[in-house]
Subunit: 308 residues, 2 copies
Amino acid sequence: MGRSGRVTLTDVAKASGVSRATVSFVLNDDPRQTISAATRERVMEAAQDLGYVPHGIARALREGSSRIVVLNVDWGMEGNFSRSYVRGLDEELAEHDHILLVRHGHSIPEATQKVLDTIAPRAVLRLGEAYMRGDEPTEDDWENGFAANAALQIGYLADHGHTRIALAMPDHDFPLTEARLGFSQEAARRRGLPPLERIVVPRPREAGAAAIRAFLAAHPDVTALAAFDDDIAQRSLAALRDLGLRVPEDMAVIGFDETEYGSLSTPALTTVHIDAEVLGRIAARNALGIGTGGLAPVPGRIVARASV
Amino acid sequence: MGRSGRVTLTDVAKASGVSRATVSFVLNDDPRQTISAATRERVMEAAQDLGYVPHGIARALREGSSRIVVLNVDWGMEGNFSRSYVRGLDEELAEHDHILLVRHGHSIPEATQKVLDTIAPRAVLRLGEAYMRGDEPTEDDWENGFAANAALQIGYLADHGHTRIALAMPDHDFPLTEARLGFSQEAARRRGLPPLERIVVPRPREAGAAAIRAFLAAHPDVTALAAFDDDIAQRSLAALRDLGLRVPEDMAVIGFDETEYGSLSTPALTTVHIDAEVLGRIAARNALGIGTGGLAPVPGRIVARASV
DNA sequence: CTGAAAGCGCTTACAG
DNA sequence: CTGAAAGCGCTTACAG
């Protein structure tokens, strides 16, 4: 045992009377080696007895990268999407002997570089990445991807007879904003709806109310707000209340990416629930370079409450 | 340059015509060495030109631990406390050439062990740690710590004439629950108030309403709810509304650890804002074993809105 | 079937 | 003031 108190490969080798190489072969189940069952047994037991745990840093130095995947998260984690995505990613990674580490609000390139230099992670991911490739969405995306979820939101409004719909957007751009806008517009088009209007709903509460009042004065025919996310939906609800408008009678509001707060507002918020656990698992497998066979994203679903 | 395309210490040594040791001494500003200004200059320049970046993994293997601090977060990050704490921790760490990595929902010991084995972080922290030591709070805690913030909440209610106060608690225990309860009770005692009642406010919304109705039937003299956090306060607000009770006329409600949602409810939520950035910085310095001189936690403050 | 050796990139006694 | 050497703990050609 080294000075550090750590049990090393050398200890296991000594205890089982073989070389370090052999121990490594056995413990990593190296398919290119043929180790006798007896030796294998002896090594495994010694490792077990000694409580040997491979030193990730040493392994990383040798292998070129550590068994870590870093996820950059640059916005809130309130919604169901983020939570479930992180859970799926974490679990799938764990099943393949890797660990997930999250980095908040630092997706600027130089910070990422620093992370790379410091721990040489196997991969650096970014939350929502798959959703924000610039490329055109595939038909799959319209089946069960981001585009489908955007369409679900617009469609629900259309199902309830709304034709003049406005997109309620946050006051500063998220990486996802552009893609989302495009999907929603396309969904409206496919549905035979006129182009969606746009309204930015800023904070604080009074500013949100002022923005909505001004918007409504210019667009009196709009009857429904499709919010970028549940946060914006909540801001809209508060604004409409302050303006003395009834929801959904005077104006319907639908959220996106369910948060815990939607059920607590009055009226409770109708929204889109997105379970991204499978997306997280797929991201994990992609990062590790293993197949994603059989894993298909779960389509979003409407959580019908009282605001539409 | 190695096969990996990485510029190593050896490259810098070659380029500047000195040994690797000397390069290391210069770059790390080793105080035990005296390097001539000329050599120093030459090395720095070569490193700069080549774009040398030390390999964190190699350094970690040599030094015994990597320049990483891991923070375990096992509950939401909605509140101002978590956000500001993480920001402070991150920034202070960055200023000392370390990086922060967050781990969500995995503070079980064996997972922590795995992280340790994999990246040998300098330290593994846990959000709220400082707040949940079992030990008695010091007088400092009553000055500007968790205890003080708990007292601030109760005190604000007392200032508004409330004497019969109930603590609104979450339906499952957080690590902090015990400590918080104790502080609040002690604050009430110091304030000359009778012991605080306790009520658990569960989800979903209907269950919360039922719980509060039952509670009020048993404790008709209670006039104010001091919530464990803003989430519980929001549940309480929704429940009271469903019961047809007016806030604050029939029942006052005060939150804790401001979230973005408090301003959007009706009535808007009065709460305690806790800026934990300095706490994060102190935690960073403690983790790195450097002095925290001059850093004092910022006391919380009341955000007065409409619910008290 | 197994072992001796090289090497990942760094830091730091140690010797000059 | 500077350099040669050891060593952190591992994996993997290579040789037997």
